[in-house]
Symmetry: C3
Subunit: 209 residues, 3 copies
Amino acid sequence: MAFTLLPKDTSFFDLFDQLAGKVLDAARALEEMLERWDRLEARVREMKDLEHECDAITHRTFDKLNLTFITPLEREDIHELASRLDDIVDHIDSTASRLVIYGVKKPTDEAKLLAQVLTRTCIEVQKAVAGLRNLKDPALLSRISVEINRLENESDDILRLALKRLFERQNGDVLEVIKLKEIYEKLESAVDRCEDVANVIQAVVLRHT
Amino acid sequence: MAFTLLPKDTSFFDLFDQLAGKVLDAARALEEMLERWDRLEARVREMKDLEHECDAITHRTFDKLNLTFITPLEREDIHELASRLDDIVDHIDSTASRLVIYGVKKPTDEAKLLAQVLTRTCIEVQKAVAGLRNLKDPALLSRISVEINRLENESDDILRLALKRLFERQNGDVLEVIKLKEIYEKLESAVDRCEDVANVIQAVVLRHT
Amino acid sequence: MAFTLLPKDTSFFDLFDQLAGKVLDAARALEEMLERWDRLEARVREMKDLEHECDAITHRTFDKLNLTFITPLEREDIHELASRLDDIVDHIDSTASRLVIYGVKKPTDEAKLLAQVLTRTCIEVQKAVAGLRNLKDPALLSRISVEINRLENESDDILRLALKRLFERQNGDVLEVIKLKEIYEKLESAVDRCEDVANVIQAVVLRHT
């Protein structure tokens, strides 16, 4: 299927921008939750609302796919990209919920640091998604991809340090080790999911250049 | 490659139906194992047999791909779909085996509930696979996909509740926490693998409509 | 895009061979680390160097993709294959680093056994990657794929035995259980990543035969 960019199709890009915006909202909400550590139950509910809004946008994207004859990108790429963006929010929502379910006493500096890197990565994801409107600049998307890869390496380094400290400083509270280990891993895994989005976008670019 | 449905090719759909049937058999066997909690070693062996049968069907599918010139779906989609169906059974088999390896004392209500949702999801997977024979009704496949997504959300809610209770009710038996946590997560992950199958099928539909 | 094998394009295959070679180097380095259990910090640094070299080759592959007009395989397949090979090294590097971060006292026989299977699987991956140069022999690639699948089953069996022994023989040292469980699972997961590479290669073969 050849690449055709018709004005009437741009609304797929609008839906992607909305999704990427919600992804970034979720990352910032998680960072704030860890920073302020108040209104926990309310924050989890707000995050769940964000997650449902993403589901709704994703389903609207799928429905639109079924009703649109000519799409600006391959149909399966649109499906894949929406699904992968939705995955990021699922991971962020799951992290927020685990923090409360597990009754984590106080978020560690390492958890806050990981959440900060996640927010920075979601900003790059938003840029990459916006860049899809104009595939004429593959070099820009390639640079964003390299930056997302760099941030993923950074989050992996923080995870390693966090796990090292977690095991060194535990005071026999093994349950707290299990809980924080999962929180750290989920945060790092959310950054990995951002890299998945970057990979889908790179594949789209490669098919159209 | 255009969509061509020749009579001689329908046996790929037969192989898919067989696979989806074994997937459902495995889900039901796991649900029954958790419900009755008897003949554990025998049940694990029976599950392993089911898993081997799935491997055999999957390999038969791959061999057939290498010998068939015109296929009813893209060759790589056939490969992907068989692989993803096989993944579900791997997860179910792995859960059954962990239950025995870990010497889990008694399955919890939450584990049983997750296994029930898994069975219901595998019934939808079977419907979706059957629906592939007739891609003329994308709306049906779309509805099944939405239902699988709903069941995945349901299993995620049960997982959260299960983890909450697990950590609240533990009596210092941290090993039991580690074991049950993995069982719960594997059950939920099996439902996620069903969603992967739904995604592959959606992508096939999108390419053919 | 039709399959064209032009002499000037063979360097993509050279890059793949380099990557597969580094993957095997990493697997062997991990096996040696577990066997000798000396110079741990130095070995982790050497592994990190290997990982960076793989990143560099992967990025060189992506840059070359952006500069090459006619590629010997679909552009997105080249991207996918390089990414999946890189994933294997990430898993191996992560395992080596966890061994030291966690201060694992002494590697178990099961960890060594898993590392041996991983090395054998990486040898098959190298063969499969080399086989890509000549897609005229799909039967060879199919046989390698079956062998990788067999090795993945073997590593899964070892993992089950390892977990069984880990929980049976623990002497109340739950933290050691958590650490070794993750090491075992990461080793097995590295073999799974090899299977992902085999799947990508199978998909490429299917598109070209």
